[in-house]
């Protein structure tokens, strides 16, 4: 009886709690279902269709694993995204650290400048880099005018140009990821270490860096996933010989009209990014556990 009494008195409350909890989630859930889950499901479905008849087949997947050029493009995407993630994190770290610790009145200006590139569109910024890095661009023209070089340096239409352009595009996101993490580290820890005789470098190395590893992982993840899915910058700065997954998907959809194969490539790209995000989040949560032990 007592058990029955307890359950009847608690169950309405639980029901109310669950309805109240989930009601606000309904609108975003519907939006996500309609504009993300359904199209994603359709894309997965298309990847199993044949190009002509629409019959179920694994032909496009088979083509993916046997097509050398596509696999090279996949490998290129991984290398490019990895390099961009590292460059973004390395460049963003000192800036984020300054923003987290500074009390200067210039702090707000620096923060605004760090985020300012996002105000201009990606295509605009990429064209800016094209003007700088092109064979007849600013850098090559200046070096040739000074007489340092006689032939233009290969600064664009290759991996270097794309990594530079993407690093610039993604840098503000890296700064924001790291800033959140660094602001969570108490400045008292650094002061204590310095009072106990640690040098500034030792404080950074033994206190700040280990505690900010979750932020570093976040920045690497943001950099990697944004670079892997970027289209405009690789298309404009990469040139004809630099194909990555995003540009190859575009070609399959609009030029070759092979939507099943494009869907396969998009799915593989999605799996790559989910895999990287999963590994990153596992490392991050393990580090967090260790830090709070």
């Amino acid at each position: 009886m007592a058990v029955i009494a307890l359950s009847t008195s608690q169950s309405p409350a639980r029901r109310d709690l669950s309805v109240k909890t989930f009601l606000p989630l309904m609108a975003p859930a519907i939006v996500l279902a309609l504009f993300f889950a359904v199209p994603m499901g359709m894309m997965i479905g298309i990847s199993f269709q044949s190009r002509d008849a629409g019959a179920l087949t694994l032909a496009s997947y088979s083509r993916f694993v046997n097509d050398g050029l596509v696999l090279v493009g996949f490998g290129r995407t991984v290398v490019m995204s990895g390099l961009v993630a590292v460059c973004v994190t390395v460049l963003a770290y000192p800036l984020a650290y300054y923003l987290a610790r500074s009390t200067s009145r210039w702090r707000t200006v620096v923060l605004a400048l760090a985020i300012a590139p996002e105000l201009a569109g990606v295509v605009l910024r990429t064209y800016g880099w094209l003007i700088i890095l092109d064979d007849r661009g600013f850098i090559n023209s200046a070096l040739m005018w000074v007489g340092v070089i006689s032939e233009p340096l290969p600064l664009s239409k290759n991996l270097f140009g794309v990594v530079v352009g993407l690093t610039h595009v993604i840098l503000p996101f890296g700064v924001l990821s790291l800033l959140t993490s660094l602001q969570g580290i108490s400045p008292n820890l650094e002061r204590s270490a310095q009072i106990l005789g640690a040098s500034r470098l030792a404080v950074i190395r033994h206190i700040v860096l280990p505690l900010s590893v979750p932020g570093i992982i976040s920045s690497l993840l943001v950099g990697f996933t944004m670079a892997a899915s970027a289209y405009a910058t690789p298309a404009l700065l990469g040139g004809a010989g630099f194909k990555v997954m995003a540009t190859m998907v575009y070609e399959q959809v609009l030029f070759y009209l092979d939507w099943p194969f494009a869907a396969v490539m998009a799915n593989v790209l999605l799996i790559l990014m989910l895999g990287v995000a999963f590994v990153g989040s596992r490392i991050e949560s393990r580090l967090n556990q260790n830090l709070h032990l």
Binding site: G239, A240, G241
Partner: protein, 346 residues
């Protein structure tokens, strides 16, 4: 009684308002000079003749428009779309475009049968361009006469090529194949070999025709393959450039008018297509946009006739492509282009 009289009045007003509103037609095509000329030469006269309001939609390339038609199963939000013969064939095969015939578009009967057949039953060829050899008059004293001129020693590092995603590339492979003893479809080996040799001597590849033309404008490039319609615009702009139809011939680019299968105003759309194919409209379009026509009965000035495809004799200088055959081989050619041609340039 009063209420029913009021309702009847409202009903009559709504019916009259609906009937008095002009029919609307959404035409999707290109922006820039194209938009200005099509508005002036075709759309305004069409609106005056039929009392149909035309809404002009210049958003998207032909490839993007086709993707939109495919994604919406033939109801993309526009009623007439300008694409190429390749997309007309593909759209017809996929059942996304309305079939056009002399029954619903009487002027189709006046098109050259050879040209009309290339685009298939869903595309009305309203404009013909060809792959020409564009060159700088101030750099090359003797005008080139052959595709082989691109391999001239003087042009080393002075030519630019399209990427494979620009339709020009596949056509260039085909025409170089024919010029070097191969054919248009099954034996394109000589074409790829010639392209690889050209790639080594080029300054690189560009996908967009508008970016390609910047290279010849600033003198970085002295010669390049280019659609003759765009080449003519450069000539007319006063640049020291000219273009030729090389002696080995060329391959035409046929622009087509298409009506998506489930377009909202299909009746008005077929009227527009038919109007565009009228003799007077074709003459106006050919003289305005400086392109060729699939109608060989048009009267145009001699200077335009000399450069454009307007007669049966002109058609003989062209190699008409089997676009379905090209589409079937496009993926394989694209892979080969990356392996042989792009690799040769690097």
């Amino acid at each position: 009684m009063k209420f029913s009289a009021f309702c009847t009045g409202v009903l009559i007003f709504v019916t009259l308002a609906a009937n008095s509103r002009a029919e609307t037609l959404v035409v999707n095509s290109y922006g820039g000079p194209y938009e200005r000329i099509i508005r002036e030469r075709i759309i305004t006269p069409f609106e005056a003749a039929f009392g149909i309001d035309v809404v002009y939609d210049a958003v998207g390339s032909a490839a993007q428009d086709y993707a939109k038609i495919k994604a919406t199963n033939g109801r993309p939000g526009f009623d007439v779309v300008v694409m190429t013969a390749s997309q007309s064939l593909e759209g017809c095969r996929e059942g996304l475009l309305m079939a056009l015939s002399p029954k619903n578009v009487p002027n189709l009967a006046h098109l050259s049968p050879a040209m009309a057949s290339v685009a298939g039953p869903c595309g009305a060829v309203h404009e013909v361009q060809y792959l020409s050899l564009l060159y700088r008059k101030d750099k090359l004293a003797d005008p080139p006469t052959s595709w082989a001129a691109l391999a001239d020693e003087r042009l080393k590092g002075k030519i630019i090529l399209p990427t494979f995603q620009n339709t020009m590339a596949a056509y260039l492979v085909e025409i170089l194949s024919v010029a070097n003893g191969g054919d248009l479809l099954d034996n394109v080996e000589p074409g790829f070999e010639a392209m690889a040799a050209l790639a080594k001597r080029s300054i690189g590849f560009e996908q967009s025709s508008s970016i390609m033309e910047n290279y010849i404008k600033d003198g970085q490039v002295w010669a390049m393959p280019f659609w003759n319609g765009r080449a003519q615009l450069l000539v007319d702009s006063g640049l020291p450039v000219d273009y030729v139809l090389p002696k080995e011939g060329s391959i035409p680019l046929m622009a087509t008018l298409n009506v998506p299968k489930n377009a909202e105003n299909r009746r008005a759309a077929t009227k527009f297509v038919n109007f565009f194919l009228e003799k007077a409209s074709q003459e106006s379009w050919v003289t305005g946009y400086k392109v060729g026509s699939a109608r060989t009965d048009i009267d145009v000035p001699a200077d335009i006739r000399a450069k454009q495809i307007t007669t049966e004799a002109d058609l003989k200088a062209l190699h008409l492509p089997d676009l379905a055959g090209v589409a079937a081989r496009l993926s394989a050619w694209g892979e080969r282009w990356e392996r042989d041609v792009v690799a040769a340039a690097n």
